[in-house]
């Protein structure tokens, strides 16, 4: 294909490149967050952008998260498209009121007269050996809030496109980045002119017939490894990268469950009232007669995120996912 440019890029750098393209495409796109200027953010996602776009478009904020999101609301009202960086998942809570009471509701309160086209980027999930508040999975709080859209990328090519689509979206988007996958590399066409799929679509990334596995963000890679291991034992697993948590692309899951009859939902967040609970409820409502087994949730324990020396015991790994598959197959 003409102009094709296959490159091997990390997930982190894919977001950098996506942000760069979004800023080139629209001069109203501005970035705001802590340490995102000269340093390029603690994960270097905005590296080089302040140098190229200036301090007005890549704004080092004072150290106050409610301030990041609250001032971004004001910028959005002035016609800008702000992209906020929250440094770590556990630091988003000081901005919680601004996100759920201001960002999420402003469009509706104005009966559509104003838009809040804002992205809030949050590196999330564990597995990096950090102290507390650096490894959390707060996605369900935001998915529970009407007015927000919530997505999570899992691989470099998706990261490249999804961040651009999120910036272009006229609604506020909470953009979860799987921080332990920032350094994963994949080859894709970085010069492609459009995304292979919409921002709010799930992606069936492996076909199978016996069990459906659904997850998002950092566990997608683990799900694929689990499916490969299961295949060696004769179990055919279909794997779905959910990508969008709100709106929930339930049709893709339902279509798969109608085929396999079994569903295991995986995430790092605590399983109680997590995304898996909602998916379980909706699939049960829509596939009651097709289900061969209850929907199985494989999530984090219902405890505060543990000290990092114990996190391997908390996070869903290959064995725990396969244990979930076995439980589904036991019926």
């Amino acid at each position: 294909m003409a102009g094709q440019q296959l490159e091997k890029v990390t997930l982190g750098k894919s977001i950098t490149n996506g942000l760069r393209k979004a800023m080139e495409a629209d001069p109203k796109v501005v970035l705001i967050g802590e340490d995102i200027g000269k340093l390029g953010g603690v994960f270097r996602i905005t590296e080089g952008l302040q140098k190229d776009f200036g301090e007005d478009r890549v704004i080092d904020s004072p150290l106050a998260e409610s301030g990041i999101v609250g001032t971004a609301v004001g910028m959005a009202l002035r016609g800008y498209r702000p992209v906020c960086e929250i440094q770590f998942d556990g630091f988003v809570y000081p901005a919680f009121d601004q996100i759920v009471s201001q960002v999420a509701k402003m469009h509706a309160r104005a009966l559509g007269a104003v838009k809040i086209p804002m992205v809030i980027r949050i590196p999330f999930g564990g597995g990096i050996g950090s102290p507390e508040h650096h490894s959390e999975s707060p996605e369900a709080y935001f998915a529970h809030t009407a007015g927000l859209r919530v997505v999570a990328c899992s691989n470099p090519e998706d990261a490249h496109w999804m961040i651009q689509q999120a910036v272009a979206c006229d609604d506020p988007v909470i953009f979860f980045e799987p921080k332990r996958r920032y350094h994963d590399r994949a080859e894709y066409d970085t010069a492609a002119s459009s995304s292979p799929r919409g921002l709010f679509e799930a992606n069936v990334i492996r076909q199978g017939t016996d069990v459906t596995l659904v997850g998002y963000g950092p566990v997608v890679k683990t799900m694929l490894e689990s499916a490969a291991a299961a295949e060696a034992e004769g179990t055919s697993i279909e794997v779905i990268d959910l990508r969008s948590l709100s709106p929930l692309p339930i049709d893709t899951i339902v279509a798969s469950v109608r085929k396999t009859g079994r569903l295991v939902v995986v995430h790092e967040a605590s399983s109680f009232l997590g995304m898996a609970s909602e998916i379980s409820a909706q699939v049960t409502e829509q596939c009651f007669y097709e289900l061969e087994a209850p929907v199985i949730r494989v999530g984090g324990a219902n405890i505060p995120y543990p000290p990092s020396r114990m996190e391997e015991e908390f996070l869903p790994d290959l064995d725990r996912i396969l244990d979930g598959v076995d439980r589904a197959l036991a019926y």
Binding site: V69, G70, M75, L77, G79, K105, H107, R109, L111, G147
Partner: protein
């Protein structure tokens, strides 16, 4: 700490009482015009007609407030937050704005909205329960009411940062240079968002004027619960100027706000104005102030009434006669009648519109839920 610093801290301007020597005043409670070297120039050009129109605004918004209170008591509004006593703070500051300036109100700025040209019905719809806001903020550059205390201070600051990024500060072109004004109260001064807004506004030289109406009470808590020092002095700690103005003096409020807006437009923002005033009524219609404050305090503040002192000036200086005051009262009666009529006939939107503006772009859950709701409603009609 040095003895000097300790002495300073022990001898602050009084947080309560008559506002202290730092308070800017151009019109005494007795209606006497007093001179101020820095602020006289901002009222020098006001004509008798201007002052009469100030008076009209004050009377009409007090009437709007009285009707809001009555409509709540009659079951037509769910709640009403009264502005009684704060008319001069709101009209004085609101009239100092230019059309392209932008206002971020709390939920009590019915008077500011009125002088911005908002349909007076607008402030009723939230409290009648027909919408959660309901107007286009861009129509009069008057943002939606914000109920979460202080949250709008960050919105105002971000908006002002955008104004600066647009290059609309310090150009010298009065049609271009833009200021943002953010209203909040003494209670909000304790909120994290207000303090973060001060930090952000200072850090980015944002052209925003923080307008704190210190009405002495945050529901039941007196201002001493929020602060040891006068609120305007807080600004100094954040690195920008703060000034206390007599919030019941429309001339001083108008002058000081003009000055601060000019400073902001010229690139010398942010600034803080503490409008020293009093909440004469309850916090809202759900509140009972007799449980926590003494009536003697309210009686004392009646002598500082913002409308009476302007009326005294107008009458004493021969700028208005009895016929004028009667005419304004009649206009207020007419205004009230229209307001009441508009309120009780305000349409409630049909249920299916609840899903209309949750998202700006298409959303499958909104469409599915709306369709399910309509099918559910239709099922009753079929059954009949």
């Amino acid at each position: 700490m040095s003895d000097k610093v300790v002495a300073e801290l022990q001898e602050p301007t009084p947080a309560v009482g008559d506002g202290g020597p730092d308070m800017i005043q151009l019109l005494t409670p007795e209606g006497q015009r007093v001179s101020h070297p820095d602020y006289d120039k901002y009222v020098a050009d006001l004509t008798p007609e201007d002052l009469r129109s100030f008076y009209r605004d004050l009377v009409l918004i007090r009437r709007l407030d009285a009707e809001g209170y009555a409509l709540q008591r009659q079951g037509e509004l769910g709640l009403w937050p009264s502005l009684l006593g704060q008319e001069a703070a709101q009209v004085g500051s609101g009239r100092a704005l230019r059309p392209h300036d932008f206002v971020f109100p709390t939920y009590r700025e019915h008077g500011v909205g009125f002088v911005r040209g908002m349909d007076p019905q607008s402030s009723l719809q939230l409290f009648r329960g027909v919408s959660q806001g309901g107007w286009d903020p861009q129509e009069n550059n008057f943002h939606l009411y914000t109920i979460v205390i202080g949250a709008q201070a960050l919105h105002a600051t971000g908006y002002a940062m955008g104004v600066r990024m647009d290059g609309n500060v310090g150009t010298g072109d009065p049609d271009r240079d833009t200021a943002v004004i953010c209203y909040f109260g003494d209670g909000a001064s304790s909120q994290g968002d207000v303090n973060e807004a001060f930090v952000y506004a200072a850090s980015f030289d944002a052209p925003v004027v923080f307008f704190c109406q210190n009405n002495q009470w945050a529901i039941s808590e007196p201002v001493e619960k929020q602060t040891r020092i006068p609120l305007f002095q807080r600004a100094r700690g954040f690195g920008f100027p703060g000034v206390r103005v007599d919030g019941n003096d429309i001339l001083a409020t108008y002058a000081v706000t003009q000055h601060c807006l000019d400073e902001a437009r010229n690139g010398n923002g942010p600034l803080l104005i503490e409008a020293y005033t009093y909440r004469m009524g309850a916090h809202t219609t759900a509140d009972d102030p007799t449980k926590y404050r003494v009536s003697a305090e309210v009686e004392e503040w009646k002598f500082r009434d913002p409308i009476l002192r302007l009326k005294t000036l107008l009458a004493h200086e021969g700028m208005a006669d009895e016929a004028f005051f009667t005419q304004i009262d009649e206009e207020a009666d007419q205004f009230a009648a229209e307001l009441r009529e508009g309120c009780v006939t305000m349409a409630t939107m049909p249920g299916e519109t609840m899903w209309d503006h949750v998202y700006a772009e298409d959303h499958p859950v909104m469409e599915a839920e709306r369709a399910a709701y309509l099918a559910y409603k239709a099922s009753f009609e079929e059954a009949n």
